[in-house]
Amino acid sequence: AQTVTQSQPEMSVQEAETVTLSCTYDTSESDYYLFWYKQPPSRQMILVIRQEAYKQQNATENRFSVNFQKAAKSFSLKISDSQLGDAAMYFCAYLPRDTGNQFYFGTGTSLTVIP
C-alpha cells in the first residue's frame, strides 16, 4: 500500500530565510508523480510544485524547489526567501502514473513565518 509520511507537524522560519519540509513515501511502483500542495487559511488547496519520478532533474518553481531522492523515497520541499504569505499547511502527495486515480496525502506540515 502506498503511504506518505510527513514527520514534521509544525515548522517555523524567519522571514527571508530558507526552510525545508520533509516527505517520505512508500511504493512498489516505478513511475509516479509527487506533489506539494499548500493550504492557506482560506482553505483553498493550491498546487505548489510537481515532480515526475522518471525525471531525474529536481523541479523548481520560483522560490520553491524540491530535493527528489528516488532510491531513498524522499521528496523534500525547500522554500527560499520565505515570505509572510508562505504561512500555510503544506501537504505532500503521491499519485501512481499509470494505475488508479487515487492521490495519497501526507498528514501535513504547518508552516509559520516569523516577521
Binding site: 506518505v4 510527513q6 507537524p9 508523480y33 506533489f35 482560506s42 482553505r43 483553498q44 488547496m45 498546487l47 510537481r50 501537504f91 499519485l95 486515480n101 487515487q102 492521490f103 496525502f105 501526507g106 498528514t107 501535513g108
Partner: protein
C-alpha cells in the same frame, strides 16, 4: 477559470440528521473525489467517482454514501450524522487518463455535528 464549488462553507447539524454535502465542477472532469481532513491525519479519501453513477470506496467509507447523477455534481451523504463526523470535507476533481494528475479542489465545508 476552472472551478470546484462546494455548496456550504460551514454547516452545523444535529446527531442523527441526514446531511448532504454538494460539490459541482465546471470543467467537464470525469473524476470527482470526497476527502475528509482532520488535524494530524491529513486528507483521507472517503469515496471517488470516475463516471456518472459510478463510485469507488476510498479509505474511510463507513458512515458515508455518495451520489453522482450528473457529471458535474458529486454529493456526499451522511445517512445519520454522528459527532465523530465533525470534520472538514474537501471535494476535488480531475480528468481521466494522462491529465489526471491535475487535481482541483473546492474550498471545503467545515461540518460540525452536535
Amino acid at each position: 477559470d476552472v472551478k470546484v464549488t462546494q455548496s456550504s462553507r460551514y454547516l452545523v447539524k444535529r446527531t442523527g440528521e441526514k446531511v448532504f454535502l454538494e460539490c459541482v465542477q465546471d470543467m467537464d472532469h470525469e473524476n470527482m473525489f470526497w476527502y475528509r481532513q482532520d488535524p494530524g491525519l491529513g486528507l483521507r479519501l472517503i469515496y471517488f467517482s470516475y463516471d456518472v453513477k459510478m463510485k469507488e470506496k476510498g479509505d474511510i467509507p463507513e458512515g458515508y454514501s455518495v451520489s453522482r447523477e450528473k457529471k458535474e455534481r458529486f454529493s456526499l451523504i451522511l445517512e445519520s450524522a454522528s459527532t465523530n463526523q465533525t470534520s472538514m470535507y474537501l471535494c476535488a476533481s480531475s480528468l481521466l487518463g494522462g491529465a489526471r494528475e491535475k487535481l482541483f479542489f473546492g474550498s471545503g465545508t467545515q461540518l460540525s455535528v452536535l
